[in-house]
Every structure is written in C-alpha cells, then in structure tokens.
C-alpha cells in the first residue's frame, strides 16, 4: 500500500525530474507555480470551470487546480513552458496565436494552446465546431474566441504538412 505520511513524490515536469514533499491536499497548480516557479499555468476559478490551469498529465489535458499533487506521483507533466521547440523557437500553435492576435490579456492562453495541441493530436483536420467544442472548458473573459479559433485553424493547416512544421522559416514576427 502506498501510504504516504511524508508524501514524497516524484514529478517529471517538462522533461525534468523533481523530488518534492507535499501536503496530502496540496494542489498540482500550486506546486507547479510556487515550488517549481512555472507560472505559465494560471490559477483561475479554482473549481475546474475556467481551464486556465490546464496542463498535460501523461499526455492528457487535466485541470491542475482540482488535481492533487500527491496523486501525480510518477507522472509526466507538461506545462505551456514545455511545448516550445528544443531550440527555443515557439511551437506553431503559439506562433499562430501571435499571428492572429489571439492573445488579449493572456490569462487563458496557456490552457487554450495546450487544448489546441491535444485536439490537433487526435484530429489533425478539425472543423470549426469541433474546435469550439474542444475548448468548451477554457474560458476567455476577453471573449477573443474568433481569433483563437482562427489561430487553431491556421496551426492545423501548418502542422498537417510535416515538412513545413519542421522547416527553419517557422518563426515569424507577430503581426
């Protein structure tokens, strides 16, 4: 039985392994932000309704504000900080968000981008309703949904061409 009195856990976050001691009711979002300094994931509603805290746990999108850190022992976490290319260049989805001005206040952006990545992994050619359906759990209070949807459509078009996605001319200036 895995009874944790000390609650020592190992998290792999964006490829780096961390040994941490956490309270049994500590939330994953607080560990990421306060212990590891990864402030890309946001603490929004705290009740799983807004999606600002979205991270990937073992490849699956999850709400870090309703996830216990102790329950993630041994798991691989990816945050928005972990999706850029190894050379530091932005991910095509990030670039398209910039290109479409799909970022206003930016609070929802990390969650939106991770959900977009999850969608395009499962469904490389989503329709607009499919895109809107997939980001249902991510709220943009600036109501910038049209730009977000266009950015995801453009990213889908680009990522569907493997040669283009790896090409050196990916990084472009924000319009």
């Amino acid at each position: 039985m895995l009874t944790s009195c000390t609650n020592a856990i190992i998290l792999t976050v964006n490829g780096d392994e961390h040994m941490l001691v956490v309270e049994p009711n500590e939330l994953l979002i607080n560990v990421l932000r306060n212990e590891l300094g990864l402030t890309g994931s946001k603490y929004g509603c705290g009740t799983g309704q807004c999606g600002a805290c979205t991270v990937l746990i073992d490849g699956e999108p999850a709400l870090a504000c309703v996830t216990l850190a102790v329950a993630c022992d041994g798991k691989e976490i990816v945050t928005i900080e972990g999706i850029a290319r190894p050379d530091g260049g932005l991910h095509p989805i990030q670039e398209e968000f910039l290109g479409e001005n799909a970022v206003q206040c930016g609070f929802c952006t990390p969650g939106m981008i991770l959900m977009a990545g999850d969608l395009l992994k499962r469904n490389p050619h989503p329709t607009e309703p499919e895109i809107r359906h997939h980001i249902k759990g991510n709220i943009c209070r600036c109501t910038g949904y049209n730009g977000i949807v266009r950015a995801i459509q453009h990213a889908a078009a680009r990522m569907a061409e493997p040669a283009a996605a790896d090409g050196p001319d990916l990084v472009k200036e924000a319009r």
Partner: protein, 296 residues
C-alpha cells in the same frame, strides 16, 4: 482538523479495509472534480457538506477493478472509477446504452470529463447529476461493496434517498454500475437544458427509453434531474404511455403527469416555474423523438 494523509490502495480489498478502519472516516476520492472544490471549503471549517471530518484521502482512481467497461452476466458492467470521457467514447456504451453515452458527453467540459468518474457523479448525489437520469431510464443497478459481507446490488432508483444522501452504508463504496443488456439496443433520448452550451450545470436534465411493439408502447422508462431533491423516475408518465400508440398528442398528454414526480425549486440558475415548464416540454419531446426513432 485537516487532511493528514493520502492512501492509494493496491486493490479493492485493501481500499475497503482502509475505509473500515476505526477512527475518522476516510475521504473516498477518485476524479476530484467535485471533491477538491469541496475540500477547499472544508479547509475553512473542517467539515464536508455531509458533516464528515475526514483525515485520510483514499484515492480509488487507479484501482483496476473499478476502471473499465465489460459485458458480464447479461449486464454491461461499468467500473465506478471509469471516467466520463471513456464512457462517452466507448463503442459498447454508444451502441447499447446511447442515453448514457450522451449524458456522459454532456458533463462539464472535455477537461472535466478526462477526470470525473461515473461513481463520483452518482455518489455526490447532486440532484443535477447528468448521468443519473440516463441510468434511471436505462434501468441501471449499482453494486456496492464493504469490508463485511459480500457485495450487494440496488436499483439506482433506490440509491438516492434524500438530497445529497445515498443508500451507501458507512464503509461501503460503489464499485460498479450495471445496465441490463436484454432487449438492447433500445431507442432512447437524453436531453439537457443549461444556461449555456459549455460546461453548464443542468437546469433540467432528462432521459427516456421506449420499447415499441409495432407502434404501441410496450415499456417506457423516464428519468429526470435537477427538478427534485434527488434524480427521479417519472413513473406516472411511464404508466400512462403503456399500451398507447405514441403520437405527439399522446406524448404531450402523458408528459403533463410529470408534475406528480417533481418538486423543482428556485435557485441561481432558474425558477421553479421555469423548471416545471421545461421538464414537461422536454419529456413530451423526448417521447415523440424516441418513438419516431423506434419506428412508431
């Protein structure tokens, strides 16, 4: 008073032993989508909604025995820790119990569905739990297990005993939800009315299953949520449909009887009066649509 430890048992027997151990009750935990917000409130006053003051988090989300969907003994057996996302996408659920697939797909958002479990949706016993009316319409049974004695089974309609109160005895958990397979697939509908199209808590949720002989109703089951203290079966509507040829007029006439079973309240989402109107309208529409699908 605070949560002092976290336990992830290796098997069901061990989980039940932890639950039966003397001392403060353990907090049975799976997806956490309801419990974590509740635990935050608990940090303030030390107790949960039901008055418990647990010290131990008992995480059942990774118990193999409680995860997954299979056919066994003429039943579709769904582990209580199976997530809404898995249920909504499962080919057998979609084919054999489409009302449940639709209800699971309507819960929260894709993010919530990745974590929220079927057992959690039922044990929380919220009147607006979306899977409850679907499972009532499907004639589902819940299997409960405790450390002492064997598992027991209970029709879901007997599981909800009062507002946010279930028939679970101390030390018991829901291990599986069982849906009888005889006669399936059967025509059905699930409908949810919320204040918006995304991540909404139901104003009214409802489901029905209707079996026809020719164009005559041979069996009907109708479940409703968010219109009473517990999810309810609309037994009077079901009885009125039996032996009738289902037309839109018959559906409307029978749906009026829904008020015998509901006692909606005013809250932040809707007024009691609106809930009553919606419940009747949704039931009438579901009956008509289901009968049409079944070939009436």
């Amino acid at each position: 008073m605070k949560l002092e430890s976290y336990v992830r048992p290796a098997g069901l027997e061990e989980a039940l032993a932890v639950l039966a151990a003397p001392g403060p009750k353990a907090l049975v935990f799976a997806g956490g989508t309801d419990l974590v917000p509740m635990m935050r409130k608990m940090r303030m006053n030390g107790t949960l909604l039901n008055g418990d003051s647990p010290r131990v988090i008992l995480d059942l989300s990774k118990l193999d025995e409680l995860c997954g969907i299979r056919k066994a003994g003429g039943m579709l057996e769904i582990g209580a820790a199976t997530t809404m996302g898995v249920i909504a996408a499962d080919p057998s659920v979609k084919k054999l119990v489409p009302v449940l697939a639709a209800a699971a797909a309507s819960v929260g958002s894709p993010l919530v569905r990745n974590r929220a479990t079927l057992g959690g949706n039922l044990v929380t016993a919220s009147p607006s739990a979306d899977t409850a009316p679907a499972l009532l319409a499907a004639g589902a049974v819940v299997r409960l297990a405790g450390a002492e004695g064997g598992p027991r089974e209970l029709p879901l309609s007997e599981f909800f005993v009062a507002y946010r109160k279930t028939a679970l005895q101390p030390g018991e958990i829901v291990t599986h939800v069982l849906v009888p397979l005889a006669g399936r697939p059967v025509a059905g509908r699930f409908e949810k009315v919320g204040l918006r199209n995304a991540d909404a808590i139901s104003v009214v949720c409802a489901a029905c299953e209707i079996e026809l002989e020719g164009s005559t109703c041979r069996a009907a089951r109708i479940g409703l949520g968010a219109v009473a203290a517990v999810p309810v079966r609309a037994l009077a509507v079901e009885a009125a449909l039996l032996g009738r040829e289902i037309t839109a007029d018959v559906a409307a006439e029978c749906a009026r009887l829904v008020h015998e079973h509901i006692s909606p309240i005013d809250d932040v989402r809707a007024s009691a009066q609106y809930r009553g109107w919606v419940a009747e309208a949704v039931v009438a529409r579901m009956i008509t649509d289901t009968a049409r699908e079944a070939g009436a």
